[in-house]
């Protein structure tokens, strides 16, 4: 039995719409994302998965035409409220991008920079080691900390990006197709890492890979374009991953997860 009485969620959205200009890329999303679980967002290309994910840490602010209606509640506060500083939001919600994007600096500096600008007061060497261990990268790079991050392989770069994110100790980590540019072995390592990370963090991951969603996530949100032809995406089904994959309520979800979509 699932306990639906948990009083607080990591993120709760209420009637969330995300617009690009007059176009509602995402409409009417009501989600309750559990703490310290992995939640997967799946759905066909262009249905607004990335848009929704970026709405969770106000990354869409940088698209000038973009705006949001509805609420995204974190710790009981609407992150789009007028008294909220988006920098503080992003500081508490880390993000890992589809394409690894380390800074063109040393491995050490990649981790230290985020910590430093956020006013980290502790021992930097320890933080770097701890974060790299947390991202399962320490053993591979412990002797190369001075090396430029661009000299790492794609999979190592992505784990470095994860290490950089956990170094600032966020509550939530957003991952937008974090393994889509990686080979199967690196992908596996990232997936194992997520299992490790969810002990301390709430993770939301966008993925196109059904097996991946089934393997790593506890909950799954199925997104789809609205049937009314508005080309606006919405969450059509949200529940435990097991249910989504074995006993979906919506016919479209069933078609999608079994590969009969489109």
């Amino acid at each position: 039995m699932q306990n639906t009485q948990i009083p607080e969620y990591a993120i709760e959205t209420k009637n969330l719409f995300v617009f690009y200009g007059s176009f509602a890329a995402v409409s009417e999303v009501n989600l309750k994302i559990e703490k310290q679980k992995v939640t997967a967002i799946i759905g066909p290309s262009g249905c607004g998965k990335s848009t929704l994910l970026r709405a969770f840490n106000r990354m869409n602010d940088f698209v000038p035409s973009s705006y949001v209606t509805g609420e995204v509640l974190m710790r009981g506060q609407n992150i789009y409220g007028s008294n909220i500083d988006p920098v503080e939001v992003r500081r508490n919600i880390g993000m890992v991008f589809q394409k690894p994007n380390p800074f063109p600096k040393s491995i050490y500096e990649n981790i230290a920079w985020g910590a430093r600008i956020n006013g980290f007061k502790g021992n930097m060497d320890e933080l770097v080691e701890q974060s790299l261990r947390g991202a399962a990268l320490w053993e591979e790079v412990k002797d190369l900390l001075k090396k430029n991050a661009y000299e790492l392989s794609g999979g190592q770069q992505q784990r470095l990006c994860i290490a950089r994110t956990i170094a600032i100790q966020p509550d939530i980590i957003l991952m937008d197709e974090p393994a889509s540019a990686l080979d199967p072995i690196s992908t596996l390592r990232i997936e194992e890492l997520m299992q490790e990370l969810k002990k301390n963090y709430t993770i939301i991951i966008v993925t196109h890979n059904m097996q991946q969603a089934a393997r790593v996530s506890d909950y799954t949100a199925m997104m789809m374009l609205e049937k009314d032809g508005s080309r606006s995406g919405t969450v059509i089904e949200f529940s435990e991953t097991k249910k989504i994959f074995t006993n979906p309520k919506d016919k479209r979800t069933e078609d999608y997860v079994t590969g009969r979509f489109g």
């Binding site: 500081r91 991008f97 920079w113 430029n148 994110t165 600032i168």
Partner: protein, 412 residues
């Protein structure tokens, strides 16, 4: 026969049509090649023309016989002997004046030698020839000289010498140099870059990273692009009206207690050049900033950086090589500009080194322009030498820009 090729030519027809395609391809290739050849010929002609003027035979006479001053041949004199000759034959006032400008003992032998020639023996150049003439008609020139100027000496000379680089202006072509002009150009470019680099980079940052893309910002952008193409003389007019006239108390230095100058100073010229290169610097810096990928900005924002931290720590360092390269190229445009300097009021004859932003000035292109308008052909030869100096300066600047660009290879 390929049954799949329904509507496509085959066999002989295919070969025919291929031949036709190759023909038009080679025609275009030939056209492009001739375009290249024309460009190369123009460049070669330019270089040849300059070098041709800077070297060649000169026929000259000594006004005063060297024997009046020394028994030895002039070229064999050592530094001390040259000094003694100067001391003995110059009026004591003239000698003290030279000594005050720069201690005579500290001057090099070639400088003293030039002084002896300039002040005592005095040279009267009769005629000079271009390099091509000198090489092709060498014997003809020799007979001509011995007939027309029996007393004259004939010498194959490079007008471009180390002394030419280090001596100031003179009214006699043989003794004139580009030192004042080089220093003037450097001062001017230095002021221009100090003015335009921070402002241009700042404007570019604002336009790229802060400004909302709306009608107003598009108008501003278009204007900047157009300003980059405005004829330089217009900037000269602007400099004259604003820096020379309106800001005279500032540009003449009278605000700072300097009384002996007007607004036609190096400062005015430098600021005018700064305004001239400003659009170029802005555009180049914008391009450099645009080339920094968004993924890098997102990475910084993703770990909780503010906009300014993102710009300062990531955008600017990665755009810097591009900004510098662009600025150097802009400077190399400024260094060759002549028209605005004429309008702003470059002096055509000064022999004193510029000693600060409030001195009068001349610049290389002004000097070149001035010399080419003189009637005597020896001035054309030193103009050619000055052009070589200017070209070398430009090439050095451009090479530096290329070097910076290549040193910092793109990582993302």
């Amino acid at each position: 026969m390929n049954p799949n090729h329904d509507h496509y030519p085959e066999g002989e027809t295919l070969r025919q049509s291929l031949k036709k395609r190759y023909r038009s391809a080679s025609l275009w290739q030939a056209i492009f090649f001739s375009a290249l050849v024309i460009a190369m010929i123009s460049l070669a002609a330019l270089l040849y023309n300059v070098i041709d003027g800077a070297f060649g035979y000169v026929a000259f006479e000594y006004k005063n016989d060297p024997a009046e001053f020394t028994a030895k041949p002039l070229d064999d004199l050592n530094k001390q002997e040259l000094l003694d000759i100067l001391k003995a034959n110059l009026s004591s006032g003239a000698y003290t004046k030279l000594d005050n400008e720069k201690l005579m003992k500290k001057r090099s032998k070639s400088v003293l030698y030039t002084l002896v020639l300039e002040r005592l023996i005095q040279i009267d150049t009769k005629q000079n020839w271009s390099m091509t003439d000198s090489i092709l008609h060498s014997s003809g020139i020799k007979t001509e000289v011995s007939e027309k100027y029996p007393k004259a000496k004939l010498e194959f000379r490079s007008w471009l010498t180390p002394v030419f680089l280090t001596t100031p202006m003179s009214s006699k072509a043989e003794f004139a140099g580009v030192r004042t002009a080089i220093l003037g150009s450097l001062w001017m470019v230095g002021i221009a870059i100090l003015f335009a680099l921070p402002i241009g980079t700042g404007a570019a940052i604002y336009l790229q990273e802060y400004a909302i893309k709306n009608f107003l910002s598009r108008v501003i952008q278009t204007n900047i692009n157009n300003l980059a193409g405005v004829p330089s003389i217009v900037y000269g007019m602007l400099g004259l009206a604003i820096f020379v006239r309106a800001f005279e108390p500032f540009t003449s230095g009278s605000m700072f207690g300097i009384t002996d100058s007007n607004g036609r100073t190096i400062l005015s010229a430098g600021l005018t050049m700064g305004v001239l290169v400003l659009p170029l610097i802005i555009i180049n810096a914008q391009e450099a900033i645009k080339a920094v990928p968004d993924s890098l900005r997102q990475a910084a924002y993703g770990v909780g950086a503010t906009r300014w931290q993102t710009i300062w720590h990531h955008v600017l360092p990665n755009a810097l090589p591009g900004i510098l390269t662009g600025s150097i190229l802009a400077v190399s445009r400024a260094i060759g500009e002549t028209a605005p300097l004429i309008v702003v009021g470059a002096s055509t004859f000064i022999s004193l080194d510029p000693d600060g932003p409030f001195s009068k000035f001349t610049a290389l292109p002004i000097q070149i322009y001035q010399w080419t308008t003189r009637a005597q052909s020896e001035f054309h030869s030193i103009a050619a030498s000055a052009i070589i100096v200017l070209l070398v300066l430009l090439l050095t600047l451009n090479a530096t820009a290329v070097l910076i660009r290549n040193r910092v290879q793109r990582k993302y």
